[in-house]
Assembly symmetry: C2
């Protein structure tokens, strides 16, 4: 099979396209997609998310989360609150402004994403989403100790 049909190549190409498109859509709100992902998660959380949990969900190193939260805090969109349960842990919570920016950002990003996926029907987008979710879950294959 020719290289241009390689799933890894196509995935990388598609991902790059979507990231560029989303960054362009978010530029008006002063966000990039990585900062936006953190803001979205904390806005969806009831009591705030610890930086450790953010790192795990986003598959980022904790040190990267520090920088992203710093960015958002500098823009007045989130705050760090001490966790009542563990004094090592900081819960990241959105400010009022953070919630407002997130709402606008989501509208813009979703519209742009829909345009980028315009070649696919709604049903196909659902199929793609579930296939991707299953690829993402396979971090630790059951009996693939050989290559670790």
């Amino acid at each position: 099979m020719p290289f241009v049909d390689n799933i890894g190549f196509l995935m990388s190409r598609a991902s790059g396209q979507l990231v560029r498109a989303t960054n362009a859509a978010l530029a008006d709100e002063g966000l990039r997609v990585r900062q936006y992902s953190v803001l979205s998660l904390v806005c969806e959380s009831a009591e705030g998310e610890s930086q450790r949990d953010l790192a795990e969900v986003l598959a980022l190193d904790p040190s990267q989360v520090v920088a992203l939260v710093d960015d958002l805090h500098g823009a007045g969109l989130v705050e760090r609150r001490p966790s009542p349960a563990d004094r090592r842990t900081k819960l990241v919570v959105p400010t009022e402004r953070g919630r407002a920016v997130r709402a606008r950002a989501t509208a813009r990003a979703d519209a742009r994403l829909a345009a980028s996926l315009g070649a696919l029907t709604e049903a196909e987008q659902g199929t793609l989403r579930s296939l991707l979710a299953r690829v993402v879950d396979v971090e630790l294959p059951p009996r693939a100790f050989t290559d670790r």
Copy 2:
């Protein structure tokens, strides 16, 4: 829909996983995935590929292709040949060693990719490939001049 179900996010996460896995698989051959993609394309080509064509197929800036070809040339895997048709153009062609390295690299990369996609059946992988190919093709939507 929660952020973690966003297709752009899932795509970025999946792409990162596949790139990391492929880079790990290629490390023994002294390659990274971007160099490998150039090597693969020139090995598949009958008369060599111009750097401009490589940039277009891979969706890279021509200046990035210069660096990748430099890397491969430094490793003795490709050569630049003058095009008989256009003296501006350089055709990138593999060396004998380049072809041998590419064969081994492809075996390793394909095996690792198959493992990373192990959660999907062959049919599902085919579906994923075709969906991705259609997403990638939508660089210039028919009448979306508004956002350019």
